[in-house]
Symmetry: C2
Subunit: 202 residues, 2 copies
């Protein structure tokens, strides 16, 4: 979406608050008053600009016919299922669905990942759970990380000492993975900041 000038962003923000508070979008005159414009056309042209840039939609010939575009209102989080080899984790192929409103519960999260397997059982992470993941470059010891190793995405607890990294499962049936960061390619997809479990198997 095309970038907004400072003034335009200011006006868009005001529009949001106005609708929030009044349940009705404002008129040109009201926008004019709020910003102390001397002309209704100042309001009009700002609205036209915001429409052109895709932030709202004007319904011609209707009083207060201003529709704020969805994307600005609430986003939700994309849900990543089975991760295809070689694909970026948030690519179309991996997108299983989309949970609206999930971003409200986990404001820091960037996406949700469906857990496969029981290797983190003792950390309270079961097969089928959805992990809220925040993208990041660095992981601190003790955090649970989502990493890609040999084109496989895995969730493990991070334990690093210099170049030596252990990816620790939380289940005695699984063995820790040892990684030499100097030799092996490993990419960090993010850290786990939350969990959602839904439905039947409970």
């Amino acid at each position: 979406m095309e970038k907004l000038s400072r003034r335009q962003a200011e006006i868009l923000q005001w529009l949001h608050r106005y609708v929030q508070e009044n349940d009705v979008p404002p008129t040109r005159a009201e926008l004019m008053q709020a910003f102390a414009f001397q002309s209704p056309n100042a309001a009009e042209s700002h609205l036209r600009t915001l429409e052109r840039k895709g932030y709202l939609q004007l319904q011609r010939g209707r009083a207060r016919g201003i529709r704020l575009t969805e994307t600005v209102q609430q986003e939700g989080l994309p849900l990543v299922g089975r991760v295809a080899a070689g694909q970026p984790i948030l690519s179309e192929e991996n997108l299983e669905s989309y949970l609206p409103t999930a971003d409200r519960l986990f404001p820091e999260a960037d996406f949700l990942l469906r857990v496969q397997g029981m290797s983190m059982r003792d950390a309270g992470i079961l097969d089928g759970d959805l992990l809220a993941v925040q993208r990041c470059l660095e992981v601190h010891n003790g955090q649970i990380a989502v990493v890609r190793l040999d084109d496989e995405v895995t969730v493990k607890r991070w334990q690093q000492e210099g170049e030596r990294l252990w990816l620790l499962p939380e289940n005695p049936d699984f063995a820790p993975i040892e990684v030499d960061l100097g030799r092996q390619a490993l990419s960090v997809e993010g850290v786990v900041v939350g969990l959602i479990r839904r439905g039947g198997k409970l």
Copy 2:
């Protein structure tokens, strides 16, 4: 709130849908068209009636100045923390806070309960987790139930054979609880239908 006639309810419902779909309340003329009235005053007087009965608020002299009263729109779920003895689980005293939008993730749930203790660890339920609970009267074997026993609220897996009930923890460090339904008072608060875990200890 004063009762609505069939026609009035019909109109209120239409108003709700209209706002939902258009982000703007309708004009008298639009309401008139939708119901095939021959006069805008039919719309006007219906709106006045609905206002008098408290279902909406008309902003005089403003185009589309119709505010629908915030009906108890089940937005979000109440979060129950420590449950006080003798109090109904959803009473004011027990309400810790309120998670807006959580109802979207767990449509069947009636409230959230903060878990205390590790007795359900092996079911992936850890101390501090939030359980989405659906109120119900009956629990089936194998479901995880929220029950009140001797004025204490506890979360356990349900295993019943006739009058004999076992409340099974999912952690070898805890002992099962045996209940004789004929003798002991036990009230079912609901069954677990989901789980939310947030933040740091991950």
